[in-house]
C-alpha cells in the first residue's frame, strides 16, 4: 500500500464529490479544447480553400458574400454574370487560368456546381471511379455526396432549383453520375460537379428572367464595347433558332431534343455563370482584370485574402467569449476540487494524525493530499479528451452541412497536451491549502479529542 494508492482509495471512497470535481474540470477543459479543435480545423480549411484563389469576379453585392459563396460554397451567390465576360477574358493572354462556377441548383441539399475540370484541379481532387464530366448533364460527384446519398457511377438523379430547399425540380432532364471523386477534405467532397452548360440547359425553359441566382441581380446593360460586341455577335447568329427552340421548349418535348442543338440555341444573354475564380493571377494581370471587372456596371472583382482576414476578425470576439466561458468553468472546477478536498480532509483529520503515528512524515502526508488533487485533475483531463473529441465528432456532423467541410473528432493537436499541464497545475493549486493544513496537523491535539 503506497501513498499514491492511498490517495486513489481516498478518492474512490467518496465517489460523488470526486466525480463532480472531475466532471466540472472535464467540461471546462473540453470546452476550451473543442474550441481549439474547431478553430484549428476551420482555419486550416479556410486557408486551404482560399489560398489558391487570387481573385473572384461575380455579380455586385456583398464582397464577403461573393467570396463565401463562390470559393467556400457557404453563402448564397450575389447574383449572376454573363458567360460572355468569361469568353472575353479568355482572349486575354495574360490570364493563364480561369475557372467559371455556376451555382443555384442542388440535389438533396448538396450543391450542384457548373464548372470546368480546373475546379477539381484547384482543390487537388482525384478520381476514385469513373471519369470527369465532359458533356452536359454528366456529373462527377464528391465522396461525401456519393456516400450520404448512396450514388454511384451510372446512377441518375433529378436536380432542383434552390440551394437549401428545392423550390422546384428540373425534372425535364436527369443528371447522370459519371465519376466519383476521392475524399479530399476540401469543398469537393460535398459538391456535385457538372459542366456550366448543364445549368443553362436546366434553366433554358425559364428564360432570361429566371432568378436562379438567389441574389436576384440581373444584368441589363453592358458598357464595355468589346463585351457588347461579343454578346451581339453570338446573339445575332443564334436569334432565329433561338425563337424556334423557345417554342419547342414550351411544349416540353425533350425526349427528341438533341442536347447540343438545344444548347446552341440558348440565347447568349441566358448563358450565365455565378462567378469566375482566378488561380495564379498576380501583378499586372491581376490589376488589369480587377479594373476591367469593376468597370462593368453589375460586376465586381474581389481579392479573397482581405475578405477572409475580415471574416476571421469577425469570428474573434465570439471565440474570446467561449474561451472566457471555458476558463470560468475551469476556475469553478478548481474551487470544486479545493472545497471537495477540504471537506474530505475535515472528516479525515484523525486519519492524518494516525498516518503520522504510524510513521508517515509530514512531507508524506503533504504529498498524499497533493496526489489526490492531481489524480482528480488527471482523471478530469482524460475524461475531457473523450468528451471533447466525441463532442467534436458530433458537432462536426452538424457543421458539415453548414460549412461544406468535414470536421473530425480524430484530429489531435499538440496543444491538447498543454492542457494536461494546465489540469495538473489546477489539481496542485487546489490541493495546496488542504495539503498544507494536513501537513501542519497537530497530532497530539487531534488524537486527544
Amino acid at each position: 500500500m503506497n501513498i499514491l494508492r492511498l490517495s486513489w482509495k481516498n478518492i474512490i471512497s467518496k465517489p460523488l464529490p470526486s466525480l463532480l470535481s472531475m466532471l466540472l474540470l472535464a467540461v471546462g477543459l473540453s470546452t476550451a479544447i473543442i474550441l481549439k479543435l474547431t478553430e484549428h480545423q476551420l482555419t486550416e480549411n479556410i486557408n486551404n480553400t482560399g489560398k489558391d484563389v487570387k481573385l473572384v469576379i461575380g455579380a455586385k453585392g456583398s464582397r464577403l458574400q461573393l467570396v463565401l459563396s463562390s470559393v467556400f460554397q457557404i453563402d448564397n451567390p450575389t447574383g449572376n454574370i454573363n458567360y460572355g465576360f468569361y469568353t472575353l477574358l479568355k482572349r486575354n493572354r495574360m490570364i493563364k487560368e480561369m475557372i467559371p462556377v455556376s451555382m443555384g441548383d442542388s440535389y438533396k441539399r448538396k450543391r450542384i456546381v457548373g464548372t470546368n475540370h480546373d475546379y477539381i484541379r484547384l482543390f487537388s481532387g482525384k478520381l476514385k471511379e469513373g471519369v470527369l464530366f465532359e458533356k452536359p448533364l454528366e456529373a462527377t460527384i464528391g465522396s461525401v455526396v456519393a456516400f450520404e446519398l448512396d450514388l454511384k457511377v451510372g446512377d441518375e438523379f433529378v436536380g432542383g432549383h434552390g440551394m437549401e430547399e428545392v423550390l422546384h425540380s428540373h425534372d425535364e432532364y436527369k443528371y447522370k453520375v459519371v465519376g466519383v471523386l476521392e475524399r479530399s477534405g476540401s469543398v469537393l467532397d460535398n459538391l456535385i460537379l457538372t459542366p456550366v452548360q448543364t445549368v443553362w440547359i436546366m434553366h433554358a425553359g425559364h428564360g432570361h428572367d429566371s432568378e436562379y441566382a438567389l441574389g436576384g441581380v440581373k444584368e441589363e446593360v453592358h458598357d464595355n464595347p468589346a463585351f457588347e460586341k461579343v454578346l451581339e455577335d453570338s446573339f445575332l447568329q443564334k436569334a432565329e433558332e433561338h425563337n424556334h427552340q423557345h417554342h419547342d421548349h414550351d411544349h416540353h418535348e425533350h425526349a427528341e431534343v438533341n442536347l447540343e442543338e438545344l444548347l446552341a440555341n440558348i440565347d447568349p444573354k441566358d448563358r450565365e455563370i455565378t462567378a469566375i475564380l482566378f488561380p495564379n493571377l498576380s501583378g499586372n494581370a491581376k490589376i488589369g482584370v480587377l479594373n476591367n471587372a469593376n468597370n462593368q456596371p453589375n460586376m465586381m472583382a474581389v481579392d479573397p485574402a482581405p475578405e477572409i482576414a475580415l471574416l476571421k476578425n469577425k469570428i474573434t470576439p465570439f471565440v474570446s467569449i467561449i474561451i472566457a466561458i471555458s476558463w470560468f468553468i475551469t476556475v469553478i472546477a478548481m474551487f470544486s476540487v479545493f472545497i471537495g478536498l477540504l471537506n474530505s480532509l475535515r472528516g479525515r483529520k484523525y486519519e492524518i494524525a494516525l498516518m503520522r503515528v504510524l510513521g508517515a512524515s509530514k512531507a508524506k502526508v503533504l504529498v498524499s493530499i497533493l496526489f489526490e488533487g492531481v489524480i482528480l485533475s488527471v482523471l478530469g483531463y482524460l475524461f475531457c479528451l473523450v468528451l471533447s473529441h466525441a463532442g467534436m465528432e458530433l458537432i462536426g456532423g452538424w457543421m458539415q452541412n453548414e460549412y461544406q467541410y468535414e470536421f473530425s473528432g480524430w484530429i489531435f493537436l499538440n496543444s491538447e497536451l498543454t492542457y494536461l499541464l494546465v489540469a495538473i497545475a489546477i489539481g496542485l493549486v487546489s490541493a495546496l491549502i488542504p495539503a498544507y493544513k494536513a501537513y501542519n496537523t497537530d497530532i497530539s491535539e487531534t488524537l486527544s479529542k
Partner: protein, 208 residues
C-alpha cells in the same frame, strides 16, 4: 528498554505537569494509573514522541526520542512503537487488510500479508481481512487496532485506555489478547488507564 527521567510538560504557565521517573525492562508489562486530567494521555504522547517535553528525557530502545525530530522521529515511532487508542480509528477508505499493510509500509517495512493474516487469526478476527472498517463492531475494531499496534513487532506497545469503552466480558478478552500478543512478540507493554478493573492484574503499577 523504556526509561523516563525528570520529565515535565507545560501546557501553560498555570498547567505544568511533572512525571515520576520510571523504567521498564524488555518484555515487561506495566500499568499507569491516574484520574482524568492528571496527564495520562500527555505522558503517552511524550513516550511516543508526539509531544516534546519541556525538560527531561525519554529513552526507548536506548534512543533518546526527546532529542529526535522530523522524519527521523516519525520513522522511529512507526518502527518501534505501537499504539492502541481508546477509540479505535482507521483509514476509512481502506479495508482491514489495507489498513494493516499500510501500517507496514509507512514504517518502511515491506508488505507482509501472511503476517497480517496470522495476527488477525490470533485475535480471532481473521474473517474480517477484507472487511470495510465501518462494517465492524467496536470490539472487533479494538482487536484490529491491537493487530495494527503489533503488526511491525514494535519494541514498545502503548495502550491508551484500551478497555474503557468495552463491557466487562470484552474488557477481559481484549486485555488478555494484548498481554498475550505483547508477550509473543517480546514487546514491552505499557497501559495507561483509569479503569480499576485492570488494577489487580498487573504487578507493576505507576501512579500519577
Amino acid at each position: 528498554m523504556v526509561k523516563i527521567n525528570g520529565l515535565t510538560y507545560n501546557y501553560s504557565s498555570e498547567i505544568q505537569l511533572k512525571f515520576p521517573d520510571f523504567s521498564l525492562s524488555k518484555g515487561e508489562q506495566a500499568l499507569i494509573l491516574g484520574q482524568s486530567g492528571c496527564g495520562k494521555t500527555t505522558l503517552l504522547h511524550l513516550l511516543s514522541g508526539l509531544l516534546k517535553p519541556n525538560s527531561g528525557d525519554v529513552d526507548v530502545e536506548n534512543e533518546n526520542i526527546s532529542k529526535m525530530s522530523g522524519a527521523t522521529l516519525d520513522k522511529f515511532r512507526g518502527t518501534n512503537i505501537g499504539i492502541v487508542f481508546q477509540t479505535p480509528h482507521f483509514i476509512e477508505a481502506l479495508t482491514v487488510k489495507e489498513n494493516l499493510t499500510l501500517t507496514q509500509t509507512l514504517a518502511g517495512k515491506s508488505k507482509d500479508v501472511n503476517k497480517v493474516k496470522r495476527l488477525l487469526a490470533d485475535l480471532g478476527v481473521e474473517s474480517k481481512l477484507n472487511a470495510k472498517l465501518n462494517a465492524l463492531s467496536v470490539g472487533e475494531k479494538q482487536r484490529i487496532s491491537i493487530a495494527r499496534a503489533l503488526v511491525n513487532s514494535p519494541a514498545l506497545i502503548l495502550a491508551d485506555e484500551p478497555t474503557s469503552a468495552l463491557d466487562d466480558k470484552n474488557c477481559d478478552v481484549v486485555l488478555k489478547l494484548v498481554r498475550e500478543q505483547a508477550k509473543k512478540h517480546n514487546s514491552t507493554l505499557l497501559i495507561v488507564t483509569h479503569d480499576n478493573r485492570l488494577k489487580d492484574q498487573f504487578d507493576k503499577r505507576i501512579e500519577l
